[in-house]
Amino acid sequence: MIQDKRASLAEAASLVQDGDVVALQNMATQLAPMAVVRELIRQGRLNLGIVGLLAGIPVDWMAAAGVMDRFIGGAVTMEQFGLCNRYRKGVEAGAIRVEELSETAVNARLGAGARNLPFLPTRGLIGTELIGMDPDNLRLIEDPFGGRPVVACRALVPDVAIVHAHRADRAGNVQLEPTAEWPDLGIMPKAANRVIVTVEEIVETEVLRRRPDRTVLPGFVVDAVVEVPFGAHPTSCFPFYGYDSAMHLAWVAAARDDVTTEQFLDRYIREPADQAEYLRAVGGATTMLALERMEHA
């Protein structure tokens, strides 16, 4: 008998405690587990440390809502939509501390965490000032085999990893459509102590068994799986739908000012009771159809 990992967003988000280190899937405007991010904001979580490779709007929303106080990762940007100004203000005001890593250092730290190794090396970072800023986690070391020095990146084991994917079954086996794979799904859930997955659809296990090569995460490492259509919105879930340019632009405009920031958070995050209400608030079926056609570009 397989264990049923299906949960509501509220139940899934309750796996995240105040102060946790949370690994968050995202690549600029692509594939972030936004429904869980909104739920964490609604539940008023505090002092989260967010781990990200190239994080965008989810980190800006969490910074705006005051749920995070650390960022550990490569960069925070909404690419063509610009800097994440609420995150930036938080850092400049001292409310958010940054432990900046390069991309290979993020991969190495989480990869070591996933493999139960004390560290993994990279040839990145050499000659930059980033090594010196983080001596607890990054050290330039000699190659024991006589080659050039490498940077040892200390294992990072997040309390929770949160990712979004195309489909799963009730046991939490997770499948991805053929797509560009950033490190997040391959590494974050394997490094973290608890794993939350949202998916576009939950299907019968038989459906997954037709294409086991597309399964990227076995159910036994997943703690909660939640069906959330358009769960990555306003980021993209290629090849199902693109990112929402209008929503990014609306956020950029709102984020310029404290009052409009709060109004935005209320309207799109705090007030909609569930995903269906959220989708109505952001334009409903018309918007979703346009995003499925990838009209953003």
Binding site: A28, E103, N107, G127
Partner: protein, 269 residues
């Protein structure tokens, strides 16, 4: 977002087009390139080089989509709309980073909010790291790629003293380091080859590895470049050449095939 591009006097093209063509001509059949975020100028340069003198050039769109051939350049150079026609969507940690760290990719173009005379860049902070005046996005992959990839190209559409500075507030990507043989002593391959700006082209003086004026775009003087650069620009003796004029065919291909919607002008907002 895009503003009206500046005409290049006498060249029948605009400054974005001159920059793309100039960078394109620096690429060859042995170029194996990829690109990061907001990299319209290099993306156009790779695609143009592939259509003209370097048909064998390899380009991985967004560092992911190998040999992509998009019908137009979308508003992002990092996301899916750039991936059309790819022969492979590579997986980032195991495909892309293996080929980057192994220098199977050999060419990368990047830039920073600040750049210094040795082609080091800052995308991390203005002011102290722990209490920044401005928190920038972060170095991301650049902090790795700057020390892995042998042929580095820099570009800037905002040639001014805020961008080209005497001293970086933070070194988040390495060019020639402290100059001279510093990069080599660190065991890092190659280094910056050139920097293409909206005013001129810099190369790097072979001994000191400092930026040196290689050519001026039409209408720009040495004093203009000096005034717009926060460090002392190396100016070789004799007449400084004018940046070569693009061919009609290069301009046609760029306008009609590579980038028909003018996405490259997004870098000039």
């Amino acid at each position: 977002m895009a503003t009206n591009p500046t005409e290049v006097p006498g060249y029948g093209c605009t400054i974005d087009e001159l920059m793309v063509v100039t960078m394109s001509r620096m690429m060859g059949d042995d170029t194996r390139a990829f690109n990061g975020a907001v990299s319209f100028i290099p993306v156009c340069a790779y695609l143009l080089a592939r259509r003209t003198h370097a048909p064998e050039l390899v380009w991985a769109a967004s560092s992911i989509a190998i040999d992509a051939d998009p019908k137009r350049i979308p508003e992002s150079t990092l996301s899916d709309a750039l991936w059309d026609g790819a022969s492979m969507l590579s997986n980032s940690p195991f495909d892309f980073w293996a080929m980057a760290q192994g220098a199977r990719y050999n060419t990368f173009a990047f830039r920073g909010a600040q750049m210094d005379r040795y082609g080091n860049v800052n995308n991390t902070v203005i002011g102290p790291y722990d209490k920044p005046k401005v928190r920038l996005p972060g170095g991301g992959g650049m902090a790795d790629l700057s020390c892995m990839i042998p042929r580095i190209y820099l570009w800037s559409t905002t040639h001014d003293p805020r961008t080209f500075v005497e001293r970086l507030d933070f070194r988040s990507g390495i060019g020639w380091g402290d100059g001279g043989d510093h990069r080599e002593r660190l065991g890092l391959p190659g280094g910056p080859q050139a920097c293409v700006t909206n005013m001129c082209v810099f190369d790097f003086e072979p001994e000191s590895k400092a930026m040196r004026l290689a050519s001026l775009h039409p209408g720009v003087t040495v004093d203009d470049v000096r005034g717009a650069t926060g460090f002392d620009v190396l100016v070789p003796g004799g007449e400084i050449p004018v940046t070569a004029q693009p061919d009609e065919e290069e301009i046609r291909l760029l306008r009609e095939e590579v980038d028909p919607t003018g996405a490259r002008r997004r870098e000039f907002s």
